[in-house]
Subunit: 223 residues, 2 copies
DNA sequence: GTCTATAGTTCGATAGAC
DNA sequence: GTCTATCGAACTATAGAC
């Protein structure tokens, strides 16, 4: 049985509005109007406003993370010696997220996800836990294999810093265009993917040079 | 003339509530109750809800960015040869932000800022423009001096990726504790500052190795 | 500066017809 | 599955006393 057409248009409309006005700033009336259905139909299909938000998150996170999972597995399957390069692993992580921005839904979902990832309330943490911890654990294991010299603490911190950078690069704030006075823009997806992989690969490798015993002191012989 | 005590308690209360429930999810009634004043007094002191939000942003951003500005200047003044190390520059950027999390207000403001930074609506962009573009331009100029071999596009992308990582590391989501199964936590401020500096310094340097003509191809000889 | 009271609007959710 | 109608509550902002 296919998902009803009405339910899809409700999810699409809510996704656009939640992105633009935030969860609390979006009313069921606005969603109904945007979707072109009666307000009561949203409750019929999606129960509550809170559940509607989770449905949106579930739809896109499973979509993106399934692709990541497949490409990560492919990395390891096709690698000579069974260990792919760091860049190959990061590509499988970064590309599905940034490429989703090509689709109109991606521009909306990315804003929802970025705000969710930076929320500290219990409900938001539970949602991140439910939909993003499984893929996080897979990448943490993959990074341990690809970077065997990196201590575990570096892997965890590195993964989280990298994730922050990727998630925050998904919404097109156009800030780079303003700061660079029009020279650069965030609509070049391939350029952004390349920069993110390069920056994060180097950043992860950089954590290797920081020994556990060495905390508080930084090498200053770079640059 | 000192700022009124009532106004401060209104700003403090609103800061806590905006962080917890977002802008649209916080009502003037909630703020009045949390501040222990009448609802009408908020309008007297802060005019509208929208203006109240800007007052909160102005108060903390000027506080943090003034410290950054002073320390950045100090870096260059005290450096031998006039050019400080990359890590010294990044320390002046990262430390004031992360250390603000020691104060209770920092835990609230960090959540507000992280969501603002990931918003694409015109009002949010204007606020980022007004309160964060000046300090951004100072650091971009500083990075150009510290990393003379890095092409401009690398400086702009690097600054924005770094900023994303730092801003998203400010709210204590405690995700690292869950993912590391209790081994690590985000309450160790010194450890977090060190990791962020190390990661971002390496990430910025990593962008140097990516030539303008080379886009689409990555070196794979790392790891 | 601080308050009470309230105008005028909008909210999430549900009841019940078809 | 889809609709109209509506309940009870909450909203921002202001008027006006002190």
């Amino acid at each position: 049985m296919a998902v009803t057409k009405a339910k899809d248009s409700i999810l699409d409309a809510a996704e656009r509005l939640f992105a633009q006005f935030d969860y609390a700033g979006t009313s069921m009336r606005m969603i109904a109007e945007e979707a072109g259905v009666a307000q009561a139909l949203i409750h019929y299909h999606c129960k509550t406003k809170d559940n509607l938000f989770e449905l949106i998150l579930e739809r896109r996170s499973t979509m993106i993370n399934r692709i990541r999972q497949e490409r990560l597995k492919q990395c390891f399957d096709e690698a000579e010696g069974g260990i792919p390069t760091l860049e190959q692993v990061l590509d499988s992580f970064v590309r599905p997220a940034i490429e989703s921005g090509r689709y109109s839904w991606g521009t909306y979902f990315s804003q929802i996800l970025a705000k969710l990832a930076n929320s500290v309330d219990d409900r938001s943490r539970d949602l991140v836990h439910k939909y993003y911890d499984p893929i996080a654990r897979e990448y943490i294991e993959a990074l341990k294999k690809v970077l065997p010299e990196l201590p575990d603490s570096g892997v965890y911190w590195g993964y989280l810093i990298m994730t922050s950078a990727v998630v925050s690069s998904m919404p097109r704030t156009r800030r780079i265009k303003r700061l660079s006075e029009g020279i650069l823009d965030d609509d070049s997806i391939e350029q952004m993917i390349e920069r993110l992989i390069q920056f994060n690969a180097s950043g992860l490798l950089g954590l290797s040079t920081l020994s556990e015993q060495n905390n508080g002191r930084l090498r200053t012989d770079v640059g």
